[in-house]
Symmetry: C2
């Protein structure tokens, strides 16, 4: 990486490339997205990308690690709630919401999941985020059970895994629907989660 005279400009340009690449990865998948396409979409010459990223894969990693921190903040806040069941529902909502926000998001996420079990580096990136989410959910489940707001026979870890899977289902749905009425799924998810935790 060459010395950069204006770090802010460098970062902005890097971010611009990253965003351009994200859309392409979502649309065509990682393997079928070429560096030439990324450069064209970002409005730079082919090859210039390598002044900002060491490889095509690093571009993908940058896209995936984009918003890791904010979920942790919310979780920390919700763990202090005195209404654990509601907090859990809100957390699930928060995790599922991006799937409905933009059609490209669920496609990108699924693409990442599939790449993960072929590429260890990507697997590590995703597992870190996933482990944090599941641990947080398990803690929220435990609190809900202890407060008598959820079934007593729920195993926190198993339940967290299942809730995580249900959230994944919404992403899956979003990736498959060409039109974008995925917001319906959010309501169904909420109802499903409530019913499973209490029925």
């Amino acid at each position: 990486m060459a010395r950069t005279l204006d770090p802010a400009r460098h970062a902005a340009r890097r971010r611009h490339i990253q965003d351009s690449a994200a859309a392409l990865f979502a649309e065509h998948g990682y393997d079928r997205t070429t560096t030439a396409q990324i450069c064209r979409a970002a409005g730079i010459s082919p090859g210039n990308l390598y002044h900002y990223f060491a490889s095509k894969k690093q571009v993908f990693v940058a896209v995936l690690t984009d918003d890791d921190a904010e979920t942790a903040d919310l979780l920390e806040h919700l763990l202090r709630s005195d209404r654990p069941l509601e907090a859990l529902t809100e957390f699930v909502d928060h995790l599922a919401a991006p799937a409905a926000a933009h059609p490209a998001v669920p496609k990108l996420v699924l693409e990442a999941l599939l790449q993960a079990h072929r590429d260890p580096e990507i697997a590590v990136v995703l597992e870190e985020a996933d482990a944090a989410e599941r641990d947080g959910m398990a803690a929220l489940v435990r609190r809900a059970v202890d407060a008598g707001e959820a079934r007593a026979d729920l195993d926190p870890a198993d339940t967290a895994a299942w809730l995580s899977t249900l959230v994944g289902a919404v992403y899956l749905d979003g990736a498959l629907q060409e039109d974008g009425d995925t917001s319906v799924r959010l309501g169904q998810l909420r109802h499903t989660v409530r019913a499973y935790l209490t029925a």
Copy 2:
């Protein structure tokens, strides 16, 4: 395609290549599986594959359309059941079961789903199977509602779509878990479906 002297042998060999390819597609994905790998796995020389399939993509299509008919048979049978809710549960079970049968199955299915919205030919193949499943489920939901075994406020089509998504969740889970305790998910799915339909 050259004339074949022994059609039965030809079909068997074609099937052998198809099975070898399925395992590779599941493990490495479609794009990263090379025709050379398929030939090596099938024990034939590179290039000989093209005596059995017109292209790499046709191999993939053959893998995906492998077991289309049997689900239709079961569905037809279940639509005549006089216990609609149980029939619906059994159909969902049937759809989800393969995900737990072998670790490669869910990976292969997800791979297909992602390829589908990049390749129209694959999209058509999957949509045909999917439409049949959803229509069947919607009919089963309607019968369950009419029989008073399920909530009256359920919209058959929306509910079928959601159940289909929940089944997808099990595949998603199976594709992500490296170890194979996916059978737990089948029980959770059953409980989830019951609770959603009746609670």
